[in-house]
Amino acid sequence: MEDIIVIFNEIYKSINSFIGFQIIVKFISIWYWVFLPFVFLPFAIKAWFWWRRESWEKKQEYTFLELIPSEEIVQPFNSMEQVFSTIWSIYSSTQGFRNLGKKYWRGRVPYSFCIEMMSNGPNSHILIRCLKEHKKSIETTLYAYYADLEIREVEDYTKSVPYNIPNKEWDMYGFDEILIKPDVYPIKTYEQFFEKKPENIKQEKRIDPLNAFLEGMAMLEEGEQFWIQARISPVTSKDSDYMKRAKAIVDKLTNRGEKTVQSEEGGFIPPEMKLTAREREIVNAIQTKIGKLAFLTNIRGIYLAKREIFDKGKSALGEQFFSGFNTQDLNAFKKLRRTKTKSYFYHIFTKHFIYLKKRQIFRRYLLREKTLFPLESGPFILNTEELATMFHLPIKVGTVGTNLPRVEAKKGEAPTKLPTGGGSDRKQQEESPRNLPIE
């Protein structure tokens, strides 16, 4: 111990004897007051932004739209991609000098909405949670591509469970999904496994991971619930550096920056030409991904059940669903270790840790917040094609069915020239029941 003290003393003396060091210490001791505000300023700016953001959030009103598909969907899957592309137009930047007021005074954050799939017992539902001001545009977009679709305004389904979960009666398992590789690598999309021709739709049904997932959810018992939430927010390269990251990865994959070498035959081979066919495909896949409209996404899932019927095996439903989009050499989903409600060998108070993780993921789910809220990190980029692959209207074909509600009778288009007489009709329409509970 004494030796260590002697060594530290020696180090201190040698630093102290350095004249430059003494001048720096003296300078700081005299001029520290100039630096003090600059030390606190970055924290104050962040705090200000958060405070304004909270004030903005308080004023926002959200609504839940349940999508009830028709008995049979004949639209090709890229209709859903078009839906996402159109919905992307809610994008409104908060970056740059022009938007300083919007961001730092009004507290506006980029708009987002949630696509949620839930099953209460065996009954599955597909929902969109959006701002009330976006409701009309989302409805119009969906009707434009799926004319037979029925959209109902419903209550928040999270009300169907106690808010103090996990408690004596209820237990849960939660997870956040992240991508294994940098998010500029695409996941497996419908282009690779869906049949484009409507006449081959029966084949499509068998290979649609969403149908398999909904069928899995149909096996849940009363008292069990499974929730999947994807919070998506339109972004451009102004808000995220994904374009730069993609370019850097493409450059690395194509060996750009390396010198052109002379081949044995005497010709010159540029580094790009040395790629194998698959490597070229990967580069193409990255470039195709970033060429489409992008959303900053975070995905989480929760399995909830009453303690007497809680079956941890059923929590694998989510895993099965996400593994349907995984590839070996492009991208794949995995659960985020930090938020997964599981203990690890280095956790000392295991039960306390698991309880905390459950509470945190449950709270973030209710708030529809980012992966590591209140921290900003966690979300990743998915484009319209990837989102359409994961979240689309499932087809019901053959004998195997899901318990997803369906529009039973095909509804014709409304006549364009309806009489619009008195205001009483409108009033009656306004008074029609809204916010129906999910059955």
Binding site: V34, P37, A44, E57, R359
Partner: protein, 168 residues
């Protein structure tokens, strides 16, 4: 040059600037304290995780339990005045707990929080709404007449909600 920068004369000449910089620093520190107390950032990042990890129960449960025990001890000797005082106390306690477990930013009043909760969380939600109204009347009107039986039944209603929340 070096002696000029480090000279006390220069410092005294810049006293006015020094005061401004100190003022600015104090203002920033003040704002940060205000932010930590008013916004919910500190709760999300530290207070909720810390307390929920330690207590293995929802935030505020321990405090509620402690306060409720105190009320229980004295309940048999309560007079009208004591009932009124304790109903206000318990109502405030429930409001605080609801503010923590219903995490939506939009809810600012007791009624809004109650409307967000389904009857799954608190089984006697309708009764809670009624007793909250009585509590409001007690607060507004100091001459409000409250019988002992009524007081007892109101406390029992709150007790049920605490039980549902796993607080007691």
């Amino acid at each position: 040059m070096e002696s000029f920068i480090l000279s006390p004369e220069l410092q005294s000449n810049l006293l006015f600037l020094k005061i401004i910089f100190f003022g600015l620093t104090l203002f920033l520190i003040g704002f940060l304290i205000f932010f930590l107390l008013r916004a919910r950032w500190l709760k999300f990042i530290f207070i909720y995780p810390f307390t929920e990890f330690l207590s293995k129960n929802i935030f505020g449960a321990r405090k509620a339990k402690r306060k409720w025990k105190k009320i229980l001890k004295k309940r048999n000797n309560f007079q009208e005045k004591d009932y009124k005082k304790n109903i206000i106390k318990v109502d405030k306690l429930l409001d605080r707990i609801l503010a923590e477990i219903v995490p939506f930013f939009q809810d600012t009043t007791f009624e809004e929080r109650i409307s967000k909760l389904g009857s799954v969380t608190i089984s006697n939600l309708d009764e809670i709404e009624k007793v909250h109204e009585v509590c409001k009347k007690i607060k507004e009107d100091s001459d409000y007449k409250l019988s002992i039986e009524e007081g007892r039944s109101i406390l029992a209603t709150y007790e049920q909600s605490f039980r549902d929340l796993g607080m007691i």
